[in-house]
């Protein structure tokens, strides 16, 4: 399969990339390309131009400061999965990164590319919602911050405007002693999540709790029902089983040839239970 002919721009800086994008908002940004290129090959996406930003040094790397981690949007999943600081403080992030696709995909695919694409089955959204991440977006006219909870808006839809580039993902450091994790039921070939569950828990009794899902609905979500059933309690198998039984209740659950909505709902309960059990 061969994509349609395309113009290819290789800017040398973020500002050059923003100039190119502002001049052609129908251009597609190419970071790792692991979401875009398959769609271009199928001619489901035939952009006039691509703007390659995967090699921009400004968008790469992980820094640790001011009570938060800043992950450059062009950082690969592998680089995130192997980051020692994140692994210690926010295993939910490194576990999500390590669960993406396979080594080949993780070595080239980027966090910014994945979240901009907003595939409901991608692994990042649950982990970013649960950890209270904020995204830095840049355009020619300036910068803005958008909470991950406001960023994902539906099936392949986000708050990103046509002239904007995600530059970084900011993840606040949780209170000391916070436990976190991400588990998923993966489609065996692509390793995309049919259901993925990310959770952060701190305190005993539980003071802070976040449980988020990706893959379940067209938009990733935090599950207030499960969280409410856990807050103020001490984690035990019974408490978790009861809370997990409410997972995804009242949600519009996806159905496709991988899994019916009833099966996905079942998996959401199972993976809420497994993820929370892993944090006991």
């Amino acid at each position: 399969m061969i994509p349609s002919q395309v113009n290819f721009h290789k800017p040398n800086s973020l500002s050059e990339a923003l100039d190119l994008l502002s001049g052609n908002q129908d251009a597609k940004l190419l970071a790792g390309g692991h979401s875009l290129i398959p769609l271009m090959k199928l001619r489901l996406n035939e952009p006039d131009s691509v703007i390659s930003i995967g090699n921009l040094a400004e968008l790469r790397g992980i820094s640790d400061s001011d009570g938060s981690f800043k992950i450059g949007a062009g950082t690969t999943h592998s680089e995130i999965a192997m980051h020692q600081g994140l692994r210690q403080v926010l295993p939910v992030i490194t576990q999500a990164a390590a669960s993406i696709g396979d080594i080949q995909v993780r070595n080239f695919g980027t966090i910014g590319g994945s979240i901009a694409h907003a595939d409901p089955a991608a692994d990042w959204p649950g982990a970013l919602l649960a950890s209270g991440a904020t995204l830095d977006l840049a355009s020619q006219s300036g910068q803005r911050k958008v909470a991950a909870s406001d960023f994902f808006q539906g099936f392949f839809s986000t708050a990103l405007n046509g002239d904007e580039i995600i530059t970084a993902i900011i993840i606040p450091k949780p209170p000391a002693g916070t436990r976190s994790g991400y588990l998923k039921f993966a489609q065996p070939a692509s390793r995309f999540a049919i259901v993925g569950c990310a959770a952060l828990v701190s305190g005993d009794p539980i003071a802070e709790i976040a449980v988020a899902f990706n893959g379940v609905s067209d938009t990733p979500f935090r599950d207030a029902g499960v969280e409410g059933a856990l807050k103020g309690k001490t984690l035990s198998e019974e408490v978790i089983a009861k809370a997990a039984s409410m997972a995804a209740d009242g949600r519009d659950i996806l159905s496709d040839h991988h899994a019916s909505s009833a099966y996905r709902h079942h998996l959401a309960r199972i993976y809420a239970k497994r993820t929370l059990n892993s944090l006991m």
């Binding site: 113009n7 190119l20 199928l42 080949q104 392949f156």
Partner: protein, 212 residues
């Protein structure tokens, strides 16, 4: 291995139309979630801005370091690394099977890391070094992983084999004492429909012993 030789491609793809039409109509999982035509935005052609370092859509000359040698090739910007290697440099050891980054048959190393050549654009390689399956044997001598694949009969139809070998070579370059679990993890992305996995695992563990 032939050196830089024929140009090529760009013609003879009209047969894909009916299949593509079918796929479009049926919806298809290229990504994790099923993509229906209605869920994908169409993009209208626009005039490109004349800024930045811009190429295309016609062919351009690029240089790429492949298996230790600088190669000059002429490619359209839409060319993937897999196509550049196979059709432009005649390095057909790299196989294209699923053509969408799921099966890892097209695994090559970019700066020592295994990546999918089928969903990496040739123009994005830049000055990084590419190693293909043709670059694994040295001076006519097979790599211990390749020898072990022969010894343990780890190949059946053979389409996944180059990618499998690349994944296993990368593992052994980074892990002297791999466990069976390590080999399974390293080849998790490599899909083999013949079911050669047990032999691949045995071959890789035996190669690890020989490399000590």
């Amino acid at each position: 291995m032939k050196k830089n030789s024929k140009k090529s491609h760009a013609e003879g793809h009209s047969k894909g139309l009916s299949r593509r039409g079918f796929l479009r109509g049926a919806g298809l999982t290229t990504a994790g979630t099923v993509v229906f035509t209605t869920g994908v935005q169409a993009f209208e052609a626009h005039t490109q801005p004349a800024k930045g370092t811009s190429f295309g859509p016609g062919s351009i000359g690029i240089e790429m370091k492949v298996n230790g040698r600088m190669q000059s090739l002429t490619v359209e910007p839409r060319t993937t690394l897999a196509t550049a290697l196979r059709d432009h440099l005649s390095l057909t050891g790299t196989k294209v099977v699923c053509d969408r980054g799921s099966c890892s048959a097209c695994t090559v190393f970019i700066d020592g890391k295994p990546v999918n050549a089928c969903i990496t654009m040739a123009l994005d390689v830049g000055d990084r070094e590419v190693i293909t399956i043709e670059g694994i044997a040295r001076n006519g001598e097979l790599h211990p992983v390749q020898e072990a694949f022969i010894e343990h009969d780890a190949s059946q139809c053979g389409y996944c084999t180059p990618g499998m070998v690349m994944s296993c070579v990368h593992l052994l370059e980074n892990e002297e004492n791999p466990s069976l679990e390590d080999v399974k993890a390293a080849t998790r992305g490599n899909l083999c429909r013949c079911g050669t996995y047990p032999h691949v695992f045995k071959a890789t563990l035996s190669a690890a012993e020989k490399m000590k």
